[in-house]
Symmetry: none
Subunit: 409 residues, 2 copies
């Protein structure tokens, strides 16, 4: 069973956007045990999309197209699929009706080209798109299965995981391939690999590490006759990895570090608050991405300027005046002040210099102080992060979450 991914869009060929969807789809295919030998990228040109699809269909059992399903004249994937499959397009009246209602309910102007999104090749079924206007497609013909997914990320990701992956899992022909991902933080990729080397020699399940920003993910993949046999193969390997790596394994599959932290807090009936300077609210934003976060995360302050620190927090002016905004003392004062203000069990403060210039009191780019306060007192971590502004901010948030989790455990 082999798959080929076809990404459609002139903006990809001009390098205006980076193709992250193809990597997402590649991971999903791997998790479903479907090999992927080729990926292609083609622009918004009907003849060339058709030619690429025909080639993909000639050598792969499964073809996944990404992008080009929108309403405009350069959205040509539907038309190309119909041509590549020697099929024609038909309009699905219920879908057109739903699109018209959607536009009307938002007082958006209906233009006729929107109706193109209600079209499909006659041999295809529509995949509902709860997050946008263009449905996806799945077409089965001559033993081949062809998918088409929309390009916007908020539409692509849910459709890929929630609708396409379950179909892919059924294509294996009596073999179920099932994966788990163990998520690890606080240990680097080569150290993880060194410690579980003996487990990586196994052929079923396979164990493969891959590095993510500030994390390592271990993918365990088992082949078996059914799901429960696959789970039974995975259980002892997961247990062995957890025994080796201990609490560095913070979550399973799509669990994020902020989810792990919020869940720990909810279990204990405890709460946290934040005081952010350099990250400008990014830590609060990550914590509140977790559904139900309001049971554990109370809120916080974003004190991006010295005036905001003085106005929103009590007792930081001394540390600020004496040690400057990027200092262990200011981090501690911020953390203690927000904890007392919001009466939370824990609090986290981040202050530092994310660059690009060394203009924060002369402190070097990448120097960050993270304070964690708890009923037992306040501990402070001095961190030196490398990278561009985005990287330094993201690493600071990730480290703050890791330190809070360690304090909780």
């Amino acid at each position: 069973m082999n798959a080929e991914i076809v990404a459609v869009g002139t903006e990809l060929l001009l390098g205006q956007i980076t193709d992250t969807h193809s990597a997402t789809m590649a991971r999903i295919l791997a998790e479903c045990g479907i090999g992927c030998r080729h990926r292609q990228t083609v622009g918004d040109n009907l003849d060339r999309i058709v030619e690429v699809l025909r080639q993909a269909l000639s050598r792969a059992d499964v073809v996944v197209c990404i992008g080009g399903l929108g309403p405009t004249a350069d959205d040509l994937t539907r038309d190309a699929i119909a041509l590549a499959l020697d099929d024609s397009l038909e309009t699905v009246p219920e879908v057109e009706e739903r699109l018209r209602r959607w536009f009307a309910s938002r007082n958006y102007t209906w233009v006729e080209s929107n109706a193109r999104q209600a079209q499909k090749p006659t041999c295809a079924e529509l995949i509902p798109n709860p997050n946008g206007t263009a449905p996806g497609l799945v077409a089965r013909k001559n033993g081949k299965t062809l998918f088409a997914l929309p390009g916007p990320r908020g539409e692509f990701d849910p459709m890929a995981y929630d609708a396409v992956k379950p179909i892919l899992e059924t294509l294996g022909g009596g073999v179920v391939i099932h994966s788990r991902v163990l998520r690890i933080t606080g240990i680097g990729e080569s150290a993880v690999e060194e410690r579980i080397k003996h487990l990586m020699e196994s052929e079923n399940p396979t164990v493969a590490p891959y590095a993510q920003p500030s994390e390592v993910h271990l993918r365990l993949t088992a082949r078996a006759v059914d799901l429960s046999s696959a789970e039974a193969l995975l259980d002892p390997v997961e247990a062995a990895i957890r025994a080796e790596l201990g609490s560095a394994v913070y979550g399973l599959n799509k669990t994020t570090l902020e989810e792990a932290v919020i869940n720990l807090l909810i279990e204990r009936g405890e709460t946290v608050s934040t005081a952010e300077s350099m990250t400008g609210g990014g830590l609060g934003s990550r914590l509140t991405m977790v559904c139900g976060a309001s049971s554990a995360y109370l809120g916080g302050v974003v004190t991006y300027t010295a005036a905001a620190k003085a106005s929103l927090l009590e007792g930081v002016t001394g540390a600020l005046a004496e040690h400057g905004p990027v200092s262990a003392e200011t981090a501690a004062a911020m953390s203690e002040s927000v904890r007392s203000r919001l009466s939370s069990t824990y609090s986290v403060a981040i202050t530092g210099n994310a660059g690009p210039t060394s203009d924060v009191g002369g402190k070097p780019v990448g120097l960050v102080y993270i304070a964690i306060s708890s009923p037992a007192g306040t501990s402070i971590e001095e961190c030196k992060f490398r990278g561009i502004r985005e990287d330094i901010r993201a690493r600071a948030e990730q480290t703050a979450l890791r330190l809070l989790r360690e304090k909780l455990l």
Copy 2:
């Protein structure tokens, strides 16, 4: 003049890494006026790399291979290029000598496979690699030009810009392709297209819309004999689009909406603060991603719970008690309170229900109130957003930035 990019590596096909090099190379090709019609990705398999290279050479004048030049057994790009060009490999003794010295000087063990990096097809020249061990390649045969660059980022980027781009610039035959992107918010993709349809018929420059989350980007691309002639072709089209769409065009090229807002504030010497409930700090995080944001963004509060609203903001308890957390009145009180607390010119407050459950005072998922306060008073927008939690939050942040920008204009 047409190019094709071929990325080599099984880790790409497994989705373990995202291919950013192909986008970098695509931008370089566009800047050199060389069109790119296809990109391919292939794993570390000799037969398949050869097949992909032969296809690329059959339809493109320039082929750029990325990756697979290292010393290990799965680095097969050199071998594949020799086969695809019906050529053979030869060792360049000076390069092998240099490699041996490089290893000796670092006390690294020399293994014989390292000598593979001193090989090249006889028709090719080596491109020096000052940042690593594997040189690049440029081969010219049968009117085609084929490049090979190493995959590690610290080696790829300098070789692409410093060595390959100057060669590419000599291949364009005196044609420069130059693009601009106009960034638009507050109008949907099909409405944009409807209003500038007459401009989209132009062949030089071409005008193509593409949808981004809560934005539309219009790409204008001109072909001309030099950069200034290309700019001269783009200027009147940009002016016509701005005349048609007015202030909905908020930025050019890589300018983000938060950058446009921060820049407007800095120009006027004005400031803003935030009070975020549903977005948990996401708006502050976006504003502070802009370098130099501290001149305009003072800070704010994240009042994720009712207790935090009461403790961090004055004068919201009345609105909270009477109208609940998701209400126009609470949004207004939050905005006015943070503005007065931080003495900012403007302030923005966001409160709403991002889902997935209707648990915020029984208010429906997607209902969001955004308040903007200014010296002239407070205005409130009621929004109904669709999508998953991430989307609703992102749309709320984007709308808040748009409303603030409109207030500023």
